[in-house]
């Protein structure tokens, strides 16, 4: 089997007495959208921080194209083509939208003029073309999320880590963002996304990993994962799968494939 | 090698000096723990308190220990006012601005004292300043032993206030989770000001304890405050027991190194230690949250 673009191997992270990540392993294939889901506090953002070089793992390794990148600092990872967005948006508040994106464009462009030009193009791509001269601090929640993505996109990455890029958006805004994420993938960018909004995960992701209490408990195509009783129980509590599908359904592996409820699975984005 | 008698005396003296360092550090760590600001004006305020105590004696004949009773509430009010009406409003909540405002205050206070009283060094001449008490293993200055006792007393009172009174609980709430405290109806600007006032009040007590044996000039507070900063960073920003333990520890270290290295190098030693502590502090103290 070909080496996946990104491989996480047995990563653990302990903060004093608290184990945030407990032996998580996953693989991200190139040019695919992979989702990382799990209940709050499962350790998803910690794992992202480790992959993107902001935290060093207590144990385990991260590989990019087969090369060990564990502990490589974020700015070097950006140069390798790995970009990330932040769950709580981190704009350059005192700068305009245009200047914000230009910082990303500067990764591969020396000249200010080139960077600004490239930034304008990226802005148009994500729908911020009319807001170039606005101060970044004045954007709406949806606009700020687009800016996060635009900045990361301007670095021309091979892999983007999207951390809850849909969080805090209303359904209309989510509906507008989803095509943007898909457009990224269509351009060949590999995406690893943390998401709580299940409808987006179902429609975007080709492969899903489920992280519960720091461990990967399930992986697979979205419908299979979402119908997995263990996943249901992680979100809805012990015994939930049995309540939803009856004892037989829970034993047989529940969900749409096992005779449970049809459609988008039990959680339906309800636990945001 | 030095004889054990001298060593023991040095250690004990160090503990006594350390107690006053701890009191200064206590004020600093309280302010940091609750307001999350590094109070650059702490040194200047200590100097102001020492001048106040000095003139309380000069003009009103007040013994420093008596003056403490008057000055402590006075400086509490001063600290309250500074935070409530100057630092809080001027900074608009921005960390960088708080830095500058407390620096501005420090510069103003210190130089106002310089302008008013010139740079001369003054000392108080009290009859009991040189009395010693015989503890069997060593002779210790009465003044220092009293200071030690008073510091322990102040620490106890502070602990009681923080654990038992409503205001104390509010202070702890704000320190832990400001937004939550605010949402629970706690008047955060008021609590900030009370905390700053408590920190400044500690300085008033410390000043009165220092006055019998220490000199006064417009720069005297700075030396103490650098030591206090070192203690606070070592003991943990915002940790009251840390400030106490750290103070005693630093006092002993200073006493012993003074013994082995002499006076003049001692001053540099404090700054160097301060720099080293900041550069290599344990990773738990990361971040700058001014």
């Amino acid at each position: 089997m070909a080496e996946p673009l990104l491989r996480v191997e047995g990563v653990c992270k302990r903060f004093g007495g608290l184990t945030a990540v407990d032996g998580a392993s996953l693989a991200v294939e190139a040019r695919r959208i992979t989702a990382l889901i799990g209940p709050n506090g499962a350790g998803k953002t910690t794992l992202f921080a480790i992959i993107s070089g902001f935290l060093a793992p207590s144990e385990g390794r991260v590989f990019h194209r087969g090369t060990n990148i564990t502990g490589t600092p974020p700015h070097l990872l950006a140069r390798r083509g790995i970009a990330r967005t932040f769950q709580l948006v981190q704009p350059f508040a005192g700068l305009t939208v245009h200047e914000n994106i230009a910082i990303g464009a500067h990764l591969s462009r020396r000249s200010r003029a080139d960077a600004l030009e490239a930034a304008a193009a990226v802005a148009r791509m994500v729908g911020l073309g009319d807001l170039l001269d606005r101060p970044a601090a004045s954007l709406t929640a949806a606009g700020s999320k687009r800016l996060e993505v635009a900045r990361a996109l301007a670095t021309e990455p091979e892999l983007i880590l999207l951390d809850e890029v849909l969080a805090g958006l209303n359904p209309a805004e989510v509906a507008a963002m989803v095509p943007m994420v898909r457009a990224l993938a269509d351009r060949g960018v590999t995406i690893l996304m943390i998401e709580h909004v299940m409808q987006a995960v179902m429609s975007l992701a080709q492969h899903v990993f489920v992280l519960v209490e720091g461990r990967i408990v399930a992986e697979g195509a979205p419908p299979a994962v979402v119908g997995n009783p263990r996943v249901v129980e992680a979100y809805l509590g012990h015994g939930a799968a049995a309540r939803l599908w009856g004892a037989a359904g829970a034993d047989a592996g529940g969900g749409p494939t096992g005779g449970g409820p049809a459609g988008g699975g039990p959680a339906g984005g309800g636990d945001a | 090698m030095l004889s054990p008698v001298i060593l023991v005396a040095a250690v004990l003296n160090g503990l006594l000096t350390g107690a006053v360092y701890a009191l200064v550090a206590l004020g600093l760590t309280l302010i940091y723990g609750v307001l999350h600001i590094i109070n650059f004006a702490h040194g200047a305020l200590l100097t102001a308190a020492m001048f106040a105590a000095f003139f309380a004696h000069r003009l009103f004949g007040l013994d420093p220990y008596v003056a403490a009773i008057v000055l402590t509430p006075l400086f509490f009010v001063l600290g309250y006012g500074l935070q409530r009406f100057i630092i809080g409003p001027a900074a608009h909540g921005e960390d960088r601005n708080i830095l500058l405002v407390t620096l501005g205050l420090a510069v103003m206070i210190e130089n106002a004292l310089l302008f008013a009283f010139r740079g001369d060094t003054r000392t108080l001449n009290l009859d009991y300043a040189f009395d010693v008490v015989d503890l069997g293993i060593a002779f210790l200055p009465v003044v220092r032993v009293t200071a030690f006792a008073v510091v322990l007393g102040v620490a106890l009172v502070l602990w009681l206030v923080l654990s038992l009174t409503d205001t104390g609980k509010a202070i702890r709430a704000v320190a832990k989770e400001k937004l939550g405290a605010e949402l629970s109806g706690i008047d955060v600007p008021h609590i900030y000001a009370v905390t700053f006032g408590l920190g400044t009040a500690c300085l008033a007590v410390a000043a009165c304890l220092l006055l019998p044996t220490y000199y006064v000039n417009p720069h005297v507070g700075n030396a103490f405050v650098l030591v206090a900063f070192t203690i606070v960073v070592l003991g943990g920003m915002g940790s009251v027991p840390g400030a106490l333990a750290g103070g005693l520890f630093i006092g002993v270290v200073e006493s012993l190194s003074g013994l082995y290295l002499g006076e003049s190098l001692g001053q540099i030693g404090i700054f160097v230690m301060f720099i080293l502590v900041l550069l290599f502090r344990p990773s738990g103290l990361f971040g700058e949250r001014a």
Binding site: F54, A78, L107, R109, S111 | L100, V107, N111, I268, I275
Partner: protein
Amino acid sequence: MKIAPILIVIAALATVPLLTASNVVLNFLILALMIALVGQGWNVLGGYGGQYSFGHAAFFGTGAYVTAIVQMRYGVDAWTGFALGIAGGALTGAAIGALTFRSGLKGSYFALVTLAFAEVLRILASVAPITGAGVGILIALDLRPQAFQFQSRAPFYWILLGLVGVSLVIVRLIEQTRFGAWLVAVRENEDAARALGVDATRIKLVAITVSAAMTAAGGAFYVQYFLFIDSGIAYGPWISVEALLAPIVGGIGTVFGPLLGALVVRTLGELTKLGTGDAPGLDLVIYGGLLILVVAFAPRGLAGVLSDLRGRVARLRSRMPEQAHG
């Protein structure tokens, strides 16, 4: 590259010695320009880089002492000494930067540690024989251009003006290059900058080195002009305060901020002295108060106030044609 405004300002200032022979005016302007140079140094690190140093005296004093020491103790010529002073300052900046930025010190901690470094240097300079200990160093009077000493103030003024002009151009350059964009990104949000490929530690290191070099140039000039330096002047809080006050008052993070601010601060200083004689301390009291007032009411300094006014005028103007059609 938009350096026309800089050239115009420098040219205008250059005419002053031709218009007046008053030593008072020239002396005042020389001090103001010196603070402008020192403040521009602080501005690179603090205004553009967002790292507030409370100990810029460390660079000023090193520039001054190195220049004085190599001339008086090692017989180096004054101009080379000047260059060495700048180099010494730059090295000090790089050293302090390497220590503090590698440890991840930011914000208040960084301010504290720079304060401590300046104090350590002050104490060392006050006791070390090489810096003349408590007495300081006197540069021997040698009124020849080759010795960087002049009979009249005008040549000093023009040389300093040249240095200030260079510092203005350097900052303008920074504003227009990738380095400047990265530096500002680090100031606004260091983590986000890192995630976008910015080597924040290296950027800050370069910034502090440039900053220190500029400030050291001010210090080296100071000792060449006054021919005397001691630990209190070199490494004292007065210069650390003026170094940050000028850019903050004039407009932090702008090209002309430090120059504007230096003129304001020095004017205030002189007025204070006129009013109360030579009692030490009052001018710094005023400076402290000014700092608080600016932070509270005009955080973007004079430059900010001026651009706000310009904005208001422009908005008023754009409304007038509509009223005519009313």
